[in-house]
């Protein structure tokens, strides 16, 4: 793990955290008029996976995609403009929070139908396979998405053809307000991957550094043609399922559960690692906070001032032309 730049990981996670905190803060202004599923608490998984990939590798995600999009290198202004419905949004405002894309950094898509991008991700990898390109696709999903049959259809096909796919299931224990135990039998999630003849790995989804350490070699084996793999990253969503608030007063999850996960916040974990290595200096903290805050403030400033798409764009994207 000597080549892992932990300070860099911290900076990447912090960028996502501060961006989402700003979204949460400003959401009540009612100018970001689309549903937002924040990833606060899950940044370690997103950054860990993205930093295990090469830039040419592809990624797809779900309704909860901000962290994946940003971790993969997606434009922050593209994201914030998209939330504001502006023409400079990464999907020109047509998509909203749940439909992000940035082909410049090979973030291929997030969509809002649970399970919808899973076979699409496998198809991207099938494309790489057919073109004999050494490109890996990361399919980022939640813990509930594997309940959709289409996950299994896609996993079977990926395994059959040894396609270059990394399935990443961020197990945050909930599907909206429903606990895993009310949706799936009690067995390791990864047994499903085993059932499809796939390699699998379960990791602490909040420990970004060890994710990178474990997943980089896995990605390289996938790239070499050793077949797809399934990663379970155990993590926790800190805010409500959808929206800017905390909704733990609803009582669907226990106080102990919440506090133990907050203690294991991915930023805390990396902070502790940097403390151990004496890299957690006041200068570093001040510098990275300032840098990230500046970028976030600038992005919001840009987005709030940016123009909306004009009426001509309504219905402009029905068919692509030759």
């Amino acid at each position: 793990m000597t080549d892992i730049n932990v300070k860099d990981l911290y900076g990447r996670m912090l960028r996502i955290r501060r961006a989402e905190q700003e979204i949460a803060k400003r959401y009540s202004e009612e100018q970001m008029r689309c549903p937002v599923h924040l990833s606060i608490g899950q940044e370690g998984a997103a950054v860990g996976v993205a930093m295990s990939l090469e830039p040419k590798d592809l990624m797809v995600s779900t309704h909860r995609a901000h962290a994946h999009y940003l971790a993969k290198g997606g434009r922050l202004t593209g994201l914030i403009c998209e939330l504001y419905g502006k023409a400079d949004g990464c999907a020109r405002g047509q998509g909203g929070s749940m439909h992000l894309v940035d082909w410049n950094v090979n973030f291929a898509a997030s969509t809002s139908i649970v399970g919808g991008t899973i076979p699409v991700g496998v198809g991207l990898a099938f494309g790489s396979f057919l073109k004999k390109e050494k490109q890996v696709t990361a399919v980022c999903i939640g813990d509930a998405a594997i309940e959709e049959g289409v996950f299994h259809e896609a996993a079977n096909f990926a395994s059959l053809h040894k396609l270059p796919v990394l399935f990443v299931s961020e197990n945050n224990l909930y599907s909206c307000y429903t606990h895993l135990n009310d949706r799936q039998p009690q067995r390791p999630l990864t047994d499903i991957a085993h059932g499809h003849g796939m390699r699998h790995l379960t990791l602490d989804g909040n420990d970004c550094r060890s994710i990178v350490g474990e997943v980089r070699p896995l990605v390289e084996s996938i790239r070499r043609g050793e077949g797809p793999a399934f990663l379970e990253l155990q993590t926790y969503r800190q805010l409500e399922h959808c929206g800017p608030n905390n909704d733990d007063h609803l009582g669907y999850r226990g106080a102990d559960e919440i506090s133990s996960w907050i203690d294991q916040d991915p930023l805390n974990i990396v902070q502790r690692q940097l403390e151990v290595s004496n890299e957690w200096t006041p200068e570093f903290v001040a510098e990275i906070e300032a840098k990230v805050t500046r970028e976030v403030q600038e992005a919001f400033e840009f987005a709030t001032k940016a123009p909306f798409p004009t009426r001509e764009e309504l219905g402009a994207y029905i068919y692509a032309s030759h």
Partner: protein, 351 residues
């Protein structure tokens, strides 16, 4: 009478149906959770622990499960928070539920109710705002209802649960907080019957679901100008009460169908075709329809604003059918002053 919300009418009907018949059960993603499907299932799990269920995200499989249980004596009510999700379940709905009675020669039918919610506004976008009523209304063996009021919702849900056939029950999200008189006791609004929402002589406006509210609002601006529109609220989309439409059109000689769905291949088109085919009907002008444009709704409110039809567009189209210059400024101002991507000022998203 007592005035309650649409969500409360659904909740109350479900409560009473669960109490009346132990073979009725309710299932869906989030049914017992704190959000309780926009309030429509609130407290039901506590009251009927053995009849109320959450489910994994597996729309097709669970529809099949509901079908099987129905064949084994149960009466499931399934709910999907968005109609868009039900595309996963088309195989079980169309190949199994709709066909069971016919493909086994009339031996067993599937008494299943599937509630589906149409989204709108607050940036829902392409995959959370589709009205797929047509995909189900085209399928023999299904019944499809689409109530426009709390009263109709309660009565149609009761009739649907008692129907031995699969019934698709379509709710527009923007109806959920609307209110109407609703009797406390359980009653039925019969599937297959349209309702005359307004009596008139000049033009027949056919609509259903949320569009009925917009049509009724438009009619205020029409009657102000001395017009007498007749409004038929279909309530059921299949089997459709075409006789009611025809009777009205025979009287008015003019037809406008307002359908919150894509135009090409819409139910609005089906209604117009049925009238056009009928030799016994003489129209005074060409029939018309007002629909969504033929593309999905964008997320950004800056564009979604122009996507949906409201009273302004309805009044304008009535003018075209009537071949009359109608005053539009009042209705235009009314509409401009309304919120356009939320049903009311209290709605703060997200879904």
């Amino acid at each position: 009478m007592r005035v309650i919300k649409f969500v409360e009418a659904i909740r109350e009907a479900t409560d009473q149906l669960l109490a009346a018949d132990k073979s009725v059960y309710m299932i869906g993603e989030g049914v017992p959770d704190p959000k309780s499907i926009f309030g429509t299932t609130a407290n039901l799990k506590e009251k009927y622990p053995d009849q109320v269920f959450d489910m994994p995200i597996a729309e097709n499989g669970l529809t099949g499960v509901a079908i099987g249980s129905a064949l084994n004596g149960m009466k499931p009510i399934m709910v999907h928070q968005r109609m868009d999700f039900t595309l996963y379940a088309m195989d079980q709905i169309v190949n199994n539920a709709a066909k069971w009675y016919s493909m086994f020669g009339g031996q067993k039918s599937v008494p299943l109710v599937v509630r589906m919610i149409i989204g709108r506004g607050w940036g829902q976008g392409n995959q959370h705002s589709q009205n797929l009523e047509m995909l189900y209304s085209h399928i023999p063996g299904l019944k499809v209802v689409s109530p426009s009021s709390a009263y109709a919702a309660k009565g149609l849900l009761a009739d649907a649960v008692n129907d031995p056939n699969p019934v698709i029950f379509i709710e527009h999200r923007w109806l959920h907080n609307t209110t109407s008189d609703v009797p406390e006791e359980l009653y039925t609004v019969p599937i297959g019957k349209a309702r005359t929402a307004l009596k008139g002589n000049d033009i027949t406006i056919v609509c259903w679901s949320y569009a009925n509210l917009e049509v009724m609002k438009a009619c205020e601006f029409l009657t102000n100008q001395g017009l007498s529109p007749e409004v038929i609220d279909m309530q059921t989309l299949r089997p459709m009460d075409l006789p009611a439409v025809k009777e009205s059109v025979r009287k008015t000689g003019r037809l406008l169908v307002v359908d919150d769905a894509w135009k090409f291949g819409s139910l609005a088109g089906e209604i117009i075709a049925s009238i056009a085919e009928d030799d016994s009907i003489q129209l005074k002008s060409n029939p018309r329809r007002l629909t969504y444009p033929d593309f999905p709704s964008p997320s950004t409110h800056a564009l979604a604003k122009y996507y949906y039809n409201g009273p302004h567009e309805i009044v304008k189209m009535v003018g075209e059918v009537m071949k009359k210059e109608l005053k539009l400024d009042e209705v235009m101002h009314y509409q401009a002053a309304r919120t356009h991507d939320v049903p009311d000022q209290n709605f703060k998203g997200p879904f």
